[in-house]
């Protein structure tokens, strides 16, 4: 029997195949419509192997960022220049502390290395803070939100294309909010989409390659303090290296002083070029902070009076001190993207969307198996009636439509299967009895017209009590597996002992049924 089973399965596997992704016992086979061959792409192995370790949100983050330390550290993708920054600072400071400080400490005052040390630690701290902090990335819209927005946009204008901007009046100034196609949101004011990181960032300042991250709302103060403290450090090192060289050259002459401390030359060169750029940048950002603008806005001239006489910055608090305090000492908003949160897969979806998302909860497998039974009832009935009617109508093998269900170990049903008893094994080993072969013609439709007519054609599990007048045995819910159930009428319809083809068809079909 099992041999027949295997042969049958092989033969039919490419015909009736369905995909079902519930846990454990289901074999995954591809849908009939998608491809003729076996198991489909993403998970060729049995879904039972898909044991899920809970994944964190940073692992599925859609932007182009890199995460370290389990999502705690967030940087841009290109970090090469960041390492250059790190090397330059470490190298210069290292050389300073190693070669210049001993001389300066002994000849001038030990406060110099101390202050230098504090500055250095502060610079590194601010650099790491600026580089590793989430700049204020806005999470992308959920599908429901995006759909809702789309609806609003499309319904708003009859002009084509529909307007993708919104105008808001902020403190008397008209500000345009743009729609971000990547993130599917209307960007808040002052937010911008960073093309390098592929994220919308709140209060977007600029993307800084030296820091290896975007500079936005949450890390702007760290960035500013970094460049400010770095400019102090650079000036500090520059000044004291020069002092060192001068003091030495007073004693031994200029050239021998340079020979004695060659590192100083390197430091002077690095510091000289850094001073101009970094001090300049600090000055520029001090101006931006005091007028409460972002680099982005300044470059575009958003609030410049050149655009219009009435153009002004609606975000400025009026005076410089408040602006500075707000930028540097204001409350630090938390990260909106919840990098270390665990991914929840069981969010409630609207009814129309629920088809593909049922993977989340496996709690009511019993209920589901009951649903399977139900479908199987339908299918089994259909098949058996067709099988039973085969000798009367035609000799073609019966083909079943795809049916969700689970696999059942094969030994039992086949062993008990006698041609005269088309009792069908179903999901839980329950037995479905047939009603009336004459009702066969209706069965073709029952898949499509479930709601009203089913009870005319076959027994539904919960609606029929255990002893219906027409001699029909009730369905799965009420029966346990019994190999020798007396089955009425259909047995008389055919004599399989004499018709091997029919027998084979029946077996095939029944085997197929028990395999779903």
């Amino acid at each position: 029997m099992s041999q027949i089973h295997h042969v049958s399965l092989d033969q039919h596997q490419h015909q009736h195949q369905q995909q079902h992704q519930q846990a454990g016992q289901y074999n995954q086979i591809c849908t009939r419509s998608s491809s003729g061959s076996c198991a489909e792409g993403p998970e060729p192995s049995c879904p039972a192997h898909r044991t899920r370790t809970p994944r964190r949100k940073w692992q599925v983050f859609p932007g182009r960022n890199r995460f370290y330390c389990g999502g705690r550290i967030m940087m841009a993708r290109q970090t090469g220049v960041f390492y250059l920054t790190l090397v330059l600072i470490l190298l210069t400071s290292g050389l300073f502390f190693t070669f210049d400080c001993p001389f300066l400490a002994s000849n001038l005052t030990p406060a110099i290395p101390a202050v230098g040390g504090v500055l250095f630690v502060f610079v590194m701290g601010m650099l790491f803070r600026a580089s590793f902090t989430d700049p204020g990335v806005l999470p992308r819209a959920t599908p429901d939100e995006a759909a809702d927005l789309e609806r609003q946009i499309d319904s708003a204008g009859c002009s084509r294309p529909p307007p993708r901007t919104r105008e808001v009046l902020i403190n008397g100034q008209t500000v345009k909010l743009k729609y971000c196609f990547t993130c599917k949101i209307f960007r808040p004011p002052r937010a911008s989409h960073c093309s390098l990181c592929d994220n919308c960032v709140e209060r977007f300042d600029h993307h800084c390659p030296w820091v290896g991250n975007c500079v936005g709302r949450r890390n702007y103060r760290f960035f500013y303090l970094f460049i400010l403290s770095l400019s102090f450090l650079t000036i500090f090192i520059f000044a004291f290296v020069i002092t060192h060289v001068i003091l030495r050259s007073n004693r031994t002459g200029f050239l021998s002083a340079l020979k004695d401390s060659p590192a100083s030359v390197l430091e002077v060169v690095v510091c000289f070029f850094s001073v101009w750029s970094i001090v300049g940048l600090s000055g520029f950002h001090t101006y931006l902070i005091s007028s409460n603008q972002t680099t982005n806005e300044d470059i575009k001239g958003s609030w410049s009076t050149k655009r219009g006489k009435d153009n002004f910055n609606p975000y400025s608090y009026g005076n410089i001190l408040t602006n500075c305090c707000a930028a540097l000492c204001g409350p630090l908003p938390p990260s909106l993207i919840d990098r270390r949160g665990l991914i929840q897969s069981d969010t409630p979806q609207t009814v129309s969307q629920s088809n593909g998302t049922g993977g989340g909860s496996y709690a009511s497998t019993q209920l589901h198996s009951h649903m399977c039974d139900q479908d199987q009832c339908i299918q089994s009935t259909k098949f058996v009636l067709q099988a039973a009617a085969t000798p009367l109508l035609h000799a073609d093998p019966v083909v079943l439509a795809p049916l969700p269900g689970k696999t059942v170990t094969m030994g039992g049903p086949c062993a008990y299967l006698a041609p005269s008893q088309p009792s069908l094994p179903s999901c839980g080993g329950d037995v479905l009895a047939l009603r009336d072969a004459a009702a066969d013609s209706h069965c073709h439709h029952h898949l499509h017209h479930h709601h009203h007519h089913h009870h005319h054609h076959f027994v539904s599990p919960e609606e029929t009590p255990c002893g219906t007048p027409q001699g029909v045995l009730p369905c799965p819910a009420h029966l346990h597996l019994h190999p020798h159930l007396p089955v009425p009428s259909p047995a008389a319809l055919y004599d399989p002992a004499s018709q091997d083809a029919l027998h084979e068809d029946s077996v095939r079909g029944l085997v197929k049924l028990s395999s779903v």
Binding site: A141, L149, P188, P331, D338, D346, P348, Q349, G358, D375
Partner: protein, 153 residues
């Protein structure tokens, strides 16, 4: 459990969620109000989809309370400046042991939303989602199907 939906589910979906919890009929999104700048504030305009479920006053009360809470979180004042300066002086290491003012208020907001859900929204078949879970972009109100009325879908 009603009997007929099982067959319906056989045809339409095999979503377990449909059977486990009331089906979601739709979601309403309350967008941000930027008229006061970039501070977190939500529009108090009453959405039409909620008309049958909730009165306008109740809705406005909830939204205004949320707006006030967010304003408190983002307030610039002596306390926040002090916290900022202290944090700066300690090179922001102080936040390893202490949580920021903003985070404290966010917890307060979460408690408020839970409370509102229990008292006002759940009895009406609605659910408020904390805006922080949507990146402070929207207040999402989920409307659940009211099966007792028999308006099943």
């Amino acid at each position: 459990m009603r009997q007929s939906p099982k067959l319906r589910f056989c045809v339409q979906t095999h979503s377990l969620q449909d059977l486990q919890q009331p089906a979601v009929s739709s979601k309403v999104f309350i967008q941000r109000d930027y008229s006061s700048g970039t501070i977190c504030k939500f529009q108090t305009k009453f959405p039409s989809e909620l008309e049958s479920r909730l009165d306008k006053q109740q809705f406005e009360e909830t939204i205004l309370a949320l707006n006030n809470l967010y304003a408190e979180a983002e307030k610039l004042g002596g306390k926040s400046y002090l916290e900022g300066c202290l944090a700066c002086l300690t090179a922001y290491t102080i936040f390893l042991c202490m949580e920021t003012h903003y985070e404290k208020v966010l917890k307060k907001i979460a408690r408020y939303i839970k409370d509102q859900n229990e008292k006002v929204y759940a009895p009406r078949g609605l659910l408020l989602t904390d805006p922080i879970e949507r990146g402070l972009r929207v207040v999402e109100i989920t409307i659940f199907e009211d099966r007792s009325i028999g308006s099943g879908r």
